[in-house]
Amino acid sequence: MKVLAAMSGGVDSAVAAARAVAAGWDVTGVHLALSRQPATLRTGSRGCCSLEDSHDARRTADILGIPFYVWDFAERFAADVVEDFVSEYQAGRTPNPCLRCNEKIKFTALLDRALALGFDAVVTGHHARLTDGRLYRSVDQAKDQSYVLAVLRPDQLAHAVFPLGDWTKDQVRAEAARLGLAVATKPDSHDICFIADGDTQGFLANRLGERTGDIVDTDGAVLGSHPGTFGFTVGQRRGLNLSRPSATGEPRYVLAIRPATNTVVVGSAAELEVGLIRCGTPVWIAEPPTGALDCQVQLRAHGMVSQARVSSDGTGLRAVLAQPQRGVAAGQALVMYDGDRVLGSATILSTERDPVSAG
């Protein structure tokens, strides 16, 4: 098998490439240049966009003895991931850029090019298991990345290889050390790779311009002001800077973001609870169900799995949660699981508190 290993410069993709080599495949390493003006050195926990990361990937390829190239996907990344990120926040939604990058860059732009160039598959260092077209969570639940892969269609997964799904992160690092890879002790990356200083709000303000508006309660009473509705996420508690405490002294959370009126609505934890979620067109990895589906749904990248009944709703989906959940944000993915197995996903469009009144 002839495979293209996407190598970010981190330990996961390095060991994934190493496992592909160990499997006896014909492996070529590619580092995706995603930034037009990459920083020279890596800083903090951003782990894929600096020249140093490209260098780390190259050194791994040297040691594995595989050809290595840097391909420029900066324009595609800017259009499909960064612009999408900005416009989603602008519209009051909360995007997941890692998911978008997998969907649009790694398993569209890169995969299409790889297939056209004669490769059979793209190998990545994602923590997820893929066997016979079935996608499962990683054995390392804490590092599981199946959520950000659930957006991939079966035809994309047919040409994907995730060699790390049956290993824990500790095992991955141990293997990197055994192979003598310098990235064995490289810190994990977890911030958004294209926001240099980790200041998402500042990044968005710079892109969209500040536009002061009101923070209101559910009755419309003005409690404070904000520099722009972007950058807020449903369920957010910190950074509201409200002038008055609530009557009961309970903390307040973002309930809704309304770009049309430039307001952010806040309320109590109880008011955050959601019982019904409406989603866009689903992507099914498993066979699409014929009727209602009882499954578990995960509503953001980390945590929050709940039992739900999912049924079709026009071209989209509706999910009725067995137990109400807090902090469900439009723009995030609803990913459906049967135990560890990923069934499919859909983008959250809106939420309602009470499934009964919603009909």
């Binding site: 050809p67 569209t108 056209a116």
Partner: protein
């Protein structure tokens, strides 16, 4: 292996490897001294360097005192652009303009940009025609704006990407008519074009060893005796006080021998390479009829074939050829391996597609007809495959975005 990237570097000549190794060992005292030392070991090293200087000067038709050894072409370009500009402006503050061709190597372009950023220089990029050539009238027009304000003109002898040869002597003459200094980067020219420092009329000329069968890490700026130049590297005052730093004695031996051999073999090599290159271009154009030759069709480096393949990404071509054992380059500037659209092709008026799908195949002293045949046989299928990848990319880019 089919190596067609001689413009990046060319294999060291066996005679040069022997001479460099011998020079690393040879010394009656058992020590290859510091050429600045006054004792026997130092004197021996000094003698080797001066003999290398004389040999290099003879090969390039310069005087030994005009040879400033450097660590390579990039350093020589930096020294010429910054050093001569700053010296001229120091002597006459009105001379604050710098005229540089838009197809220069980044060693020149970025040095000029540095002067703009840090020394308040005014940079004028000289336009080129569609073949990548600076026309004399373009230089004359740029000077005519304010002749007394120009300190330095820098135009390369032959372009490293598309191979076009510049009318350097004619350009130097125009600059000199207004008392303006003239530098040329001749890194790509030595060895395949006749290069005479004296006859060219330029004030300063960059040359380097590893493009002509010499070792890495050694080059020179040929600097006319009357040309003022401020140092970039400060220290012990070696090399006419213009370039401090202990010289690489064996490196200068290798450089000067390579230059002597390259210049001696030039007529035979140039005609052989011209023949091979023409076969290569014809063969590629036969296999891929819509490929386009970039650069001047005739006045180009004998070993340079630079072609664009519409619908292909240069990166894809490079990888597919590499997988078949054919080594070449996209000819564009690289930073950590990230290909940027070539500033040379863009300056020549090429559209983005032509700039993206470009490939530089450069022949050198050990290239053979078999190399040419290998490329000509491979290029059809490689381009076809790269086109499919290009089509996949553009159709995916055109598809809608999901929310």
């Amino acid at each position: 292996m089919t190596y067609l990237d001689h413009a990046a570097t060319t294999p060291m000549l066996p005679e040069v490897i022997d001479a460099v190794s011998a020079s690393m060992r040879a010394s009656s005292t058992g020590v290859v001294g510091n050429p600045s030392s006054v004792h026997t070991s130092g004197r021996q090293a000094r003698r080797v360097i001066e003999e290398s200087r004389e040999r290099l000067a003879a090969a390039l038709d310069a005087r030994p005192s005009e040879v400033i050894f450097t660590s390579g072409g990039t350093e020589a370009d930096n020294l010429a652009v910054k050093g001569i500009y700053l010296a001229r402006r120091a002597a006459d503050p009105a001379r604050r303009k710098l005229l540089v061709s838009s197809v220069e190597h980044h060693a020149v372009l970025d040095s000029a940009d540095w002067l703009v950023e840090h020394e308040n220089a005014e940079l004028v990029l000289l336009p080129v025609d569609s073949a990548g050539v600076v026309r004399p009238e373009a230089l004359a027009a740029a000077i005519a704006d304010d002749p007394a304000a120009v300190a330095l003109v820098s135009v390369m002898w032959a372009n490293n990407e598309v191979g076009s040869i510049q009318p350097v002597s004619e350009l130097a003459e125009i600059a000199h008519a207004h008392g303006i200094s003239f530098h040329t980067d001749a890194v790509q020219a030595v060895g395949t074009l006749g290069v005479s420092f004296a006859a060219s009329g330029v004030d300063a000329m960059t040359v380097t060893a590893h493009k002509i069968g010499g070792p890495y890490g050694v080059g020179a700026l040929l600097l006319g005796r009357g040309v003022a130049c401020l140092p970039v590297l400060h220290g012990g005052g070696q090399e006419r006080d213009v370039r401090s730093g202990t010289l690489d004695t064996p490196g200068t031996v290798g450089f000067s021998l390579a230059a002597e051999l390259a210049v001696g073999r030039r007529p035979e090599l140039a005609s052989r390479l011209t023949g091979l290159r023409n076969q290569l271009i014809e063969g590629v154009l036969d296999a891929v009829p819509d490929a386009v030759l970039n650069g001047h069709p005739v006045h180009r480096l004998p070993g340079n074939a630079h072609l664009s393949f519409p619908g292909c990404e240069g990166d894809s071509l490079l990888m597919l050829l590499d997988a078949r054992g054919i080594e070449c380059s996209t000819g564009s500037a690289c930073s950590a391996g990230v290909a940027q659209p070539s500033h040379v092709l863009l300056a020549m008026g090429a559209d983005e597609q032509r700039a993206r799908g470009a490939l530089r195949l450069s022949l050198g002293h050990n290239s053979t007809e078999a190399d040419v045949r290998t490329v000509v046989e491979a290029i059809g299928p490689v381009v076809e495959r790269a086109r499919r990848a290009g089509a996949a990319a553009s159709s995916a880019a055109g598809s809608g975005r999901s929310g």
